[in-house]
Symmetry: C2
Subunit: 345 residues, 2 copies
């Protein structure tokens, strides 16, 4: 770890190391990539030489020659978001543990940006790729297929098993929430959601809610669906809007948890009491859910698990192991204080 003898001139190359160790470059390469096949004796010599010259392999050269970059890409909607950060952190941890380097980009829910980023990453030779959600340009899949790049879609499950996915069933999860609220006696629902068109998870959650309602002969008109960028602030506004309707909902299902926080905070400003006047649910179970007053009834999603499993899957795939895709992950409704039966008007 001492860095006393850093060579200030040109960096040492594999050739330099080979010369110093008195072996051929090929042997150094083997030492690096497949140590088992080099004899202990030469292994030692090479080891010495590498340390002495502070040799660091030139990754681009390796990539060029081997067609493997030892980089894995991840494209998420946003880096600045509690929604993906835990998964990304877990992903990065696993990825780097396996000796890979992580390349990331955020696309702000914009398909064109995503496409651009993917092209850039592919050009850089990433060995595998993590994507969020299930709706991606067909060209992307074609590209990944053509280049034989393993990928995985996260936060989602494909019913048709078209693509490898690691996530949970958003539709069912949302349906469970709706059912829970209906069991409490609610009939007048509203939903605060991220953009339905651009965010397939949001879309599926909406479908889940609508299906569940339909099964019990209920429905939610479009007026009670408010689409917003994800943030607590937007949740506040959406809540105010919804509660100012002539016929306000008795239960508000938030497609993303920050909306729920915003709604709860805003309820205090409006002099409303949760859950007496209106029930609110979240989605994800972030740290604030249990601390806020009233604490939030929500569905807990396995965020780090998604990240870690995605990494494991891709790495296994790269290692040549044949991997079974994990079955859709479980989610769980965490019942806290923010829901109650609707008041008798």
């Amino acid at each position: 770890m001492k860095a006393t003898d850093i060579n200030l001139s040109k960096s040492a190359t594999m050739g330099d190391v080979a010369r110093a160790a008195g072996v051929a470059p090929a042997t150094v390469s083997r030492y690096l990539n497949n140590p088992d096949v080099v004899s202990p004796k030469t292994k030692h010599k090479i080891d010495q030489a590498i340390r002495a010259m502070n040799y660091v392999p030139h990754a681009a050269a390796r990539t060029l020659a081997s067609k493997k970059s030892r980089m894995i890409g991840a494209i998420v909607p946003s880096l600045d978001s509690n929604l993906f950060a835990p998964a990304l952190e877990a992903f990065q941890s696993q990825v780097s543990k396996a000796g890979y380097t992580l390349v990331v980009a955020s696309d702000n829910y914009d398909a064109e940006q995503e496409f651009k980023h993917i092209n850039q990453m592919v050009s850089h030779g990433i060995d595998a790729l993590l994507l969020v959600g299930s709706s991606h340009d067909e060209a992307i899949y074609q590209l990944l297929k053509a280049k034989q790049i393993p990928y995985v879609l996260t936060w989602t499950t494909t019913p048709q098993e078209e693509h490898p996915c690691i996530g949970f069933n958003n539709k069912i999860a949302a349906a469970n929430v709706a059912n829970y609220l209906m069991d409490l006696g609610h009939t007048k629902f509203a939903m605060i959601s991220n953009n339905i068109k651009r965010n397939d998870r949001a879309h599926k959650r909406l479908l889940g809610v609508r299906d569940a309602l339909a099964l019990r002969g209920l429905s939610m008109s479009d007026e009670y669906l408010v689409e917003r960028p994800i943030s607590a602030e937007q949740g506040r506004e959406a809540f105010r809007l919804l509660m100012s309707r002539s016929e306000p909902p008795t239960a508000i299902i938030c497609g993303s948890e920050p909306f729920a926080y915003g709604a709860i905070f805003e309820s205090k400003h409006l002099g409303l009491e949760v859950p007496r006047d209106v029930s609110i649910t979240g989605f994800d179970d972030m740290w604030l859910a249990s601390l806020i007053t009233p604490s939030l009834t929500t569905v807990r999603t396995p965020q780090q698990k998604v990240g870690a499993l995605a990494a494991d899957y891709l790495i296994a795939k790269l290692t040549g192991k044949d991997v079974a895709l994990p079955t859709p992950l479980e989610v769980e409704i965490i019942v806290r204080e923010s829901c109650a039966p609707p008041s008798k008007h």
Copy 2:
């Protein structure tokens, strides 16, 4: 953007494009890197060929030949943290806007991991590097210097101008908070902080507080300094601990904002009222600060700005422009409800 004619066999190389366009590979290279020097006529031919074959340059080959990877690295303590995410998002946005690809890693405040990641990134040929904080292994600086890799330290300022920094003065910011509280009449202080040894920002904030106190003849004993990993949950525990002292503090300065949230939530459990029974301050002004009850008096730090400026600086540096480092950024105390004069015993 159509991907109808993806070549399923080997990807097209520059040679293929050259052949198709009836020019030399060198000319294609010029078209890509320095379009001004190729004639409009050939430019058109090459353009056609590239589209037709769906050619994507091989980044590793470019890197090898040009010694520029068009990748920029960033190492942050944690990806799963509201503290760095906004900056990182802004950084990534600028970086990719300039045509670079972002490589990230998190080191969990562990110097050894950081060193490992940097080596890996350097091996991958990153053109520039963002680091957080000011305390890094000397070997790192040597390596970056030897390889001539521009870098920037963020969230900090070096008084000695040893290294390029983009951030604010943590010491002064914390001192301001302490002064504000002393102005209110406080004399019995406590601080909840991240690990002082591993986190230089935390350390500087502590120094700022201590210095400010000293200037007014006050002090804070070590018993009133609680070091914890950054989270609201840890903030709760620390708060409970501090308030159970025989002589509890009247003001608690939180070195990171999640601590403050935890403290405020826990105060309710303990039947204490903020700010009547104890004043609390945060650090960063995250979204929750204005929504929580009581709203949090805190210091607002320019997070996106740090990320964006860091990117601008590095990119300018890479473009060969001579860049003036921005002066330390301003921070501002946002006075809200969580502080008040100490109660009369």
